[in-house]
C-alpha cells in the first residue's frame, strides 16, 4: 500500500460519515453514499481494478474512466441542487406573497 492510499481512504470515510449524518431519514441517498464509499475504497485500494473495468468498457485508462464518472456525477448533483434551490425559492416566494397579501393596504388606508 502506498502512503497516499490510507490518507485517501480516511478522507473518503470521513466525508461519507458527514454525508450520512446530514442525510437524516433519507434511505436512498444514504445507500447511494454507502455504494460510492465502497466503490471509492475499492478503486483507491486496487487501482488496477479501475484499469480492468476501463478496458472492459472500451475506455483507455482507469483514471479516464473515473474522470468520466466524476463529470457525470457532478452534472447530476448540480442539476439536483438546482432543482432543490428552485423548490426552496418557490417556498420563499409563497411565504413572502402570503405576508404581502395579509398586510395589504386598501385605498382607504393609503389615502
Amino acid at each position: 500500500m502506498t502512503p497516499v492510499q490510507p490518507i485517501l481512504i480516511t478522507l473518503l470515510v470521513c466525508l461519507s460519515a458527514i454525508a450520512l449524518l446530514s442525510l437524516r431519514s433519507r434511505l436512498v441517498p444514504r445507500l447511494v453514499v454507502l455504494v460510492l464509499l465502497a466503490m471509492g475504497i475499492v478503486f483507491v485500494a486496487n487501482p488496477q481494478f479501475a484499469n480492468w473495468i476501463a478496458h472492459r468498457v472500451g475506455v483507455g485508462r482507469g483514471a479516464d474512466l473515473l474522470l468520466y464518472l466524476f463529470s457525470l456525477t457532478s452534472a447530476y448533483l448540480f442539476l439536483m441542487m438546482y432543482s432543490q434551490l428552485r423548490s426552496l425559492e418557490r417556498k420563499v416566494t409563497e411565504l413572502i406573497r402570503c405576508g404581502a397579501l395579509r398586510s395589504a393596504k386598501t385605498p382607504h388606508e393609503m389615502a
Binding site: L79, Y82, S83, R86, E89, R90, V92, T93, I96, R97, G99, A100, L101, S103, A104, K105, T106, P107, H108, E109, M110, A111
Partner: protein, 228 residues
C-alpha cells in the same frame, strides 16, 4: 362594467421617482390600482401616500413575475373583472388601457397582449439594440411556449378574471413573459394582440433590463423545463 372593476397591477422596484406619475395617470381614468412594491428601499410607500390605491409589499425583492402573481391573486380576491399589467416607469400609456381591454369586454378573447411590432410607427420607437433582442426573444418564446406572437416581452397586457384564475406564474423573474404564453396554450385561453406605442425615455431605458439579460431568461426557462 364600472372602470373600478378593472385593476391595473403595477410591480415596482426602486421606482419611487417615476411611479407616482404613472399611478396618477391610471387613477385619473377611474381604474383601480394595485401597486406591488417588490422590496424597494427607496421610500416607494411614502411616495404613494395619499393616493387611493391598494398597496402590497414583498419583504424582499423577488422579481417582476412574482410581483405580478401577487398582484393578480390580490386583485382576484378584491373582485377584479379585468387585470392590466402596467409598468412602473411610465413607459406604458394609460390612455391605451381602454383599447387594450376592449376585446375582453366584447367577449372576443381572454387575454390581450400589447405589441410594439404591429404598426410601423410603434416599431420605430423601439431602440435598434432592443429590437434585435426582442426579435430573438420572439423566436425563443415561440419555440418554448408554442405560441407565436409579434411581440413577446411586452409587459403591457390585459387578462380577464377567467384568464387570471387559470394562470399561476411560477417564474419569479422576467421569464414570466414566456411562461404566460405557455399558459395561454395549456389553459386553452383565447388571446389577441393589439398595437401599442411604448414611450422609451432615458429613464426607462436605464431602469429596463439589459439586453444581455435575455440569455439568463432563456437559461431559466430551459432549466425549469427540465427540473419542474
Amino acid at each position: 362594467m364600472h372602470p373600478d372593476r378593472v385593476f391595473a397591477i403595477i410591480p415596482a422596484y426602486q421606482e419611487a421617482g417615476a411611479l407616482p406619475a404613472a399611478v396618477r395617470d391610471v387613477l385619473t381614468l377611474g381604474y383601480s390600482v394595485v401597486v406591488v412594491d417588490d422590496g424597494s428601499r427607496d421610500g416607494t410607500e411614502e411616495a404613494l401616500r395619499g393616493m387611493p390605491i391598494h398597496y402590497l409589499r414583498h419583504a424582499t425583492n423577488l422579481g417582476q413575475g412574482a410581483a405580478l402573481q401577487t398582484g393578480m391573486t390580490y386583485a382576484l380576491s378584491q373582485g377584479a373583472e379585468i387585470m392590466v399589467h402596467f409598468d412602473a416607469d411610465g413607459q406604458h400609456p394609460a390612455s391605451r388601457i381602454a383599447e387594450l381591454i376592449r376585446p375582453i369586454l366584447e367577449g372576443e378573447c381572454d387575454v390581450v397582449l400589447g405589441s410594439r411590432f404591429l404598426r410601423r410607427e410603434d416599431r420605430e420607437l423601439v431602440p435598434w439594440k432592443k429590437r434585435i433582442a426582442l426579435r430573438i426573444g420572439i423566436v425563443v418564446s415561440g419555440i418554448l411556449s408554442g405560441v407565436w406572437l409579434s411581440d413577446t416581452h411586452n409587459g403591457f397586457r390585459a387578462l380577464s378574471r377567467k384568464a387570471a384564475s387559470r394562470i399561476r406564474l411560477r417564474e419569479d423573474g422576467f421569464a414570466h413573459a414566456t411562461e404566460i404564453l405557455g399558459c395561454l396554450r395549456t389553459a386553452g385561453l383565447r388571446y389577441r394582440e393589439v398595437p401599442v406605442a411604448i414611450r422609451y425615455t432615458a429613464y426607462s431605458i436605464r431602469k429596463g433590463q439589459p439586453v444581455s439579460n435575455g440569455l439568463n431568461v432563456v437559461v431559466d426557462l430551459l432549466l425549469s423545463r427540465v427540473l419542474r
